[in-house]
C-alpha cells in the first residue's frame, strides 16, 4: 500500500467545515443504542472545546429509516427535512450538524433534487407552509457530526489522556475504520476524503496515535439494509454481509473498529455475537470479539472519559481488552451499575464470546 497515493486523494476531497455555531440534530439509532455517544459529543464540543452547539427539543426524526424501508414517499421526507431546516433558521443558525449518516445522505440527496428540480423545492416550501406554517432556509453548511470531530481531532489530541497505542508494547493499535454507506457513496465530494478512501475517521485515528488497517472489504456495507434487518426473515442478508467483512479483516488482526454511522457499530457488534453463537467463530484475541466503537466513544476514551460513562458496557463485545491495551483504568464493579452506583443487575454473559 502506498500511503502517499492516498494522501493525494485526500487532498482532493477537503470539505469546508465551519468553526463554530452549530445546529445539532440527533439520530434515532444512535439515541436508542448509543445514548452516551451523543451526550459525549455535545460535552466535548461545548465544554472541552468551547463551541456553541444548539439543540431544540422540537426537532424530530428525518424519517430516513422509514423512507429507506419504502414506507413513506420521498415528498414526505423532503417536507420533514424542510421542517428541520426551518427550525434551524428560526433559531438563528446556518450550520447544520446531524448525528445520523442516513440523515446526512438524505439531506444531501434532497438538496441535490432541489438543485436539479427547483420546482420541487418550491412545492415542498408550499407544503411546509400549509402543514406547519413554517418557512425554511437551506443550511449554509451541511455537516455530519463526525466531520466536526475530524475538524477538532488535533485539539482533542492536544487534550488527550490516552492514545491509540498499546501501552505495553508501545506500538500503535491497529484500527479498522468503517464509514456509513450514505456518508459519501452517493455524493463523494460531500465527505471528507471522498468515497473510496474516506479520511474522516482515518484522520482521527492518525491524530490519536493509531495505525490504519485497510482490508479488502473495507468499503462493503455492514449489511443493515433497512428492511433487510427490520424483518427477521431477511436478517440472513444483514448477518452475511457483516460476516463477509469480518472474514476479510481477520488476517489483519485489528484491535479496534471505529465507525461514523449509528447503525454499523450496532450491527458489527451484535453480528459478531451471532456468528460466535452459531458457528463458534470469533475475531479478536483469545476468543474475544473485536470492539466496534462510535467515533464519539473513541474520542471520549482518548480524552479520559470513564468507559462506563461512555456506555461501552452496552456493547455485546467486551471492551476491556482494548481498555487494557490503552492503559485505561476502569472499575469492573461499576460496569453495569446504574446512576450513582445503583444496582440494576447485570446481563447474562454469553458463553460463546469471552
Amino acid at each position: 500500500m502506498i500511503y502517499e497515493g492516498k494522501q493525494k486523494v485526500w487532498s482532493d476531497y477537503q470539505k469546508d467545515i465551519p468553526d463554530d455555531h452549530y445546529f445539532y440534530v440527533r439520530s434515532c439509532i444512535r439515541q436508542s443504542f448509543f445514548p452516551a455517544s451523543e451526550v459525549t459529543f455535545l460535552d466535548i464540543t461545548r465544554n472541552r472545546l468551547g463551541k456553541d452547539i444548539f439543540e431544540t427539543e422540537h426537532h424530530t426524526t428525518c424519517g430516513g429509516i422509514a423512507y429507506h424501508s419504502d414506507t413513506i414517499p420521498q415528498e414526505t421526507v423532503m417536507t420533514i427535512i424542510a421542517r428541520q431546516f426551518a427550525l434551524m433558521a428560526k433559531n438563528g443558525y446556518e450550520n447544520y450538524v446531524c448525528s445520523c449518516i442516513t440523515s446526512f445522505g438524505l439531506y444531501c440527496e434532497t438538496m441535490e433534487t432541489w438543485r436539479e428540480f427547483p420546482e420541487e423545492e418550491a412545492r415542498i416550501k408550499d407544503i411546509l407552509w400549509k402543514t406547519c406554517k413554517l418557512d425554511f432556509a437551506k443550511p449554509k453548511y451541511l455537516i455530519h457530526a463526525s466531520d466536526l470531530v475530524y475538524k477538532y481531532r488535533n485539539l482533542i489530541a492536544a487534550q488527550a489522556k490516552h492514545k491509540l497505542i498499546n501501552v505495553k508494547t508501545g506500538k500503535p493499535l491497529k484500527v479498522v475504520e468503517h464509514i456509513g454507506c450514505h456518508y459519501s457513496k452517493m455524493f463523494p465530494s460531500k465527505g471528507v476524503g471522498g468515497a473510496e478512501y474516506p479520511y474522516v475517521l482515518v484522520g482521527m485515528i492518525e491524530a490519536w496515535g493509531g495505525e490504519i488497517v485497510d482490508y479488502p472489504e473495507r468499503r462493503h456495507c455492514c449489511g443493515f439494509g433497512f428492511r433487510q434487518y427490520f424483518i427477521k426473515g431477511n436478517r440472513g442478508y444483514s448477518l452475511s454481509n457483516t460476516y463477509k467483512k469480518f472474514e476479510s479483516m481477520e488476517p489483519f488482526h485489528p484491535d479496534l473498529i471505529i465507525t461514523n454511522c449509528p447503525g454499523c457499530p450496532y450491527f458489527m457488534d451484535r453480528w459478531q455475537y451471532v456468528i460466535a453463537e452459531s458457528t463458534g467463530r470469533t475475531y479478536g484475541e483469545e476468543g474475544h470479539g473485536i470492539p466496534v466503537l462510535t467515533y464519539e466513544e473513541v474520542a471520549g476514551l482518548v480524552m479520559g472519559y470513564d468507559p462506563w460513562d461512555l456506555g461501552l458496557q452496552t456493547h455485546q463485545i467486551d471492551s476491556e481488552p482494548l481498555l487494557d491495551k490503552m492503559g485505561i483504568e476502569y472499575d469492573p464493579a461499576q460496569k453495569y451499575a446504574g446512576k450513582n452506583g445503583k444496582d440494576i443487575g447485570s446481563p447474562i454473559c454469553p458463553t460463546c464470546l469471552k
Partner: protein, 109 residues
Amino acid sequence: MVDFGYGISPSSRLDLDKFDRKTFDLLVAEEPDVKKCIACGSCTAVCAAGKFVPTSLRSAILAIQNGLPDKALELLKPCQLCGKCTLVCPREINTRHLILSIIKIYSAK
C-alpha cells in the same frame, strides 16, 4: 445455543480462485477448441432442448471456467446431442464432441 431464526446465507459470488486449472487442461487436451468460445450464445439460441428446459452450452463452458463444473454437468444433462449448435457456432467448435468430453471428464471427477 440461541436459535436466531436465520443464519449466514451461502455466498453465490463467483470465485475464480476456485477454478481448477488441471482438470481444465485435461479438457483442453481433448478439446483445444473450447478456448475459442466467444460466448456469443448462438448454441443456446438454437438448442432444441433449451426451448423446454434450462440448458446452455455457453453457460456450461462459463461454469467450468468459473470453477463450477457440477453446474456445467447439470446444464448439459438435457442435451440430446442433436448437433444443431455445431452448425451455428461461428468459431467452428465441434460443440457436440465438446459436450461429450465435458461430461466424460467432469463426471469422472
